[in-house]
């Protein structure tokens, strides 16, 4: 037996021991999702996820139209939200990979006029988008996609409330009460 082989044997004994020792630590900490056999991915979710991707792609197109003519802080703020939607579309595209069905690039609206007027239209679209994703979370089985959509909804609801305030809503109205 060469030195390398002996080292490998001892290393594998140690590694095996560590794995066996650590197993009970995790055994009692399974979540409902793990214990219930929830799939990380489910091909049956792809249709709903493609709808979410389509919505995000159209939100990107809408904000691209909205930022034309804006300046200063208004331009920075709307470009920031545009970038968020680009990130959501990219994340969903990456998740779906070869199962992506060509998303639409048609804008959902053509916001023009004052920043307050535009913000009002965009806030409504953000609310609708968050609702679409939330309904999708309730319909799909895969945990990874649900987790991704949850992280998107958390920020899109922030978009909606912030835009409501810019549109002139009171703080109480902006929280949706």
């Amino acid at each position: 037996m060469s030195m390398t082989t002996r080292r490998r044997l001892i290393a594998s004994l140690l590694t095996g021991g560590a794995v066996i020792a650590a197993a009970p630590l995790f055994a009692g900490q399974a979540s409902a999702a793990e214990a219930g056999g929830t799939p990380q991915r489910d091909p049956a979710d792809n249709e709903a996820l493609n709808s979410s991707l389509d919505r995000e792609s159209r939100m990107v197109a809408t904000y691209r139209k909205a930022i034309v003519g804006l300046t200063g802080n208004d331009l920075t703020a709307m470009t920031l939200i545009l970038d968020h939607h680009v990130a959501y579309a990219q994340a969903l595209t990456g998740y779906l990979a070869v199962d992506v069905v060509n998303p639409s690039s048609a804008p959902l609206a053509s916001p023009t006029g004052s920043i307050a007027g535009m913000a009002r239209q965009l806030a409504t679209l953000e609310d609708q988008t968050a609702t679409i994703h939330t309904d999708t979370i309730g319909a799909i089985k895969g945990l990874d996609a649900a987790t991704l959509l949850a992280s998107i909804v958390t920020v899109e609801t922030r978009h909606a409330a912030a835009l409501e305030l810019i549109a002139g809503a009171s703080p109480i109205a902006a929280i949706g009460n």
Binding site: L13, S151, A162, P171
Partner: protein
């Protein structure tokens, strides 16, 4: 051959020692016996009960006299509305729990109140700085939104995941409003620093909802002018309500 046999014998001896049920080292006096922890499953009902404890904690913190005494006449009704919303969410959670034959939980999350909730309130009370009322409000709403987002990854039933996201979305909206009350207008949307390089409150600090620790500076400045940073984490295995 001799070397190989020696190594094999040594390894066997080590493994044999590990497998022994008797203590391999002599002890003087009595040693405590080990009590095995009970195996507790993180079910959807456990997550919903924990959500109730977090909503109760949020309502208690936002309506605490340390906070309400410092809120301005403009922000006081907003913070009160936030606290009332958290109380309203308890009923939504109660319905979800009873539909799954669970038992509602009406207390605050004692472990997290002890870990950071009470400390935050004590700092606000001792600092008496009006800006702390909104800073704590923003932190609490961000924490609750993160909690719901995190729970989605642990939940088995898709319908419950959607309900958790709906509740989290309401906290997210409140967080955005609190951030705008601190640093308003479109100039407050993106992360930025003031002229001294200090980070300003941003309404939209990241593209995706964050699950990292919520940090908030509260209380009186110390001798070098800095304030205590309170770290608020979402519930974990030792603070779930089983």
């Amino acid at each position: 051959m001799l070397r190989s046999s020696g190594a094999l014998a040594a390894t066997t001896a080590v493994l044999a020692a590990c497998s022994s049920t008797k203590p391999s080292v002599a002890r003087i006096g009595e040693s405590p016996t080990t009590v095995k922890l009970e195996d507790l499953a993180v079910t959807d009902v456990v997550l919903l009960r924990t959500a109730m404890s977090m909503e109760t904690m949020a309502a208690a913190m936002l309506s605490d006299s340390a906070v309400t005494a410092l809120a301005s006449k403009d922000t006081a009704p907003v913070i009160a509305a936030f606290a009332a919303d958290h109380t309203t969410h308890l009923e939504d959670l109660r319905v979800l729990i009873s539909a799954r034959n669970g038992e509602a939980y009406s207390e605050t999350n004692a472990k997290l109140m002890q870990a950071y909730g009470q400390n935050a309130l004590d700092l606000v009370a001792s600092g008496k700085l009006p800006e702390d009322a909104l800073a704590l409000t923003l932190a609490v709403e961000t924490l609750i939104a993160s909690t719901y987002q995190y729970f989605v990854s642990l939940t088995a039933e898709p319908a419950v995941r959607a309900d958790l996201v709906r509740l989290g979305g309401r906290s997210s909206r409140r967080a955005a409003v609190a951030a705008q009350l601190i640093n308003g207008g479109t100039g407050g949307f993106a992360p930025a620093n003031d002229k001294d390089g200090v980070a300003l409150v941003a309404t939209l600090p990241s593209a995706f909802g964050s699950l990292s620790t919520v940090q908030v500076k509260l209380g009186p400045p110390n001798e070098v002018g800095t304030r205590t940073t309170v770290l608020m984490d979402t519930p974990s295995l030792n603070s779930l309500i089983y």
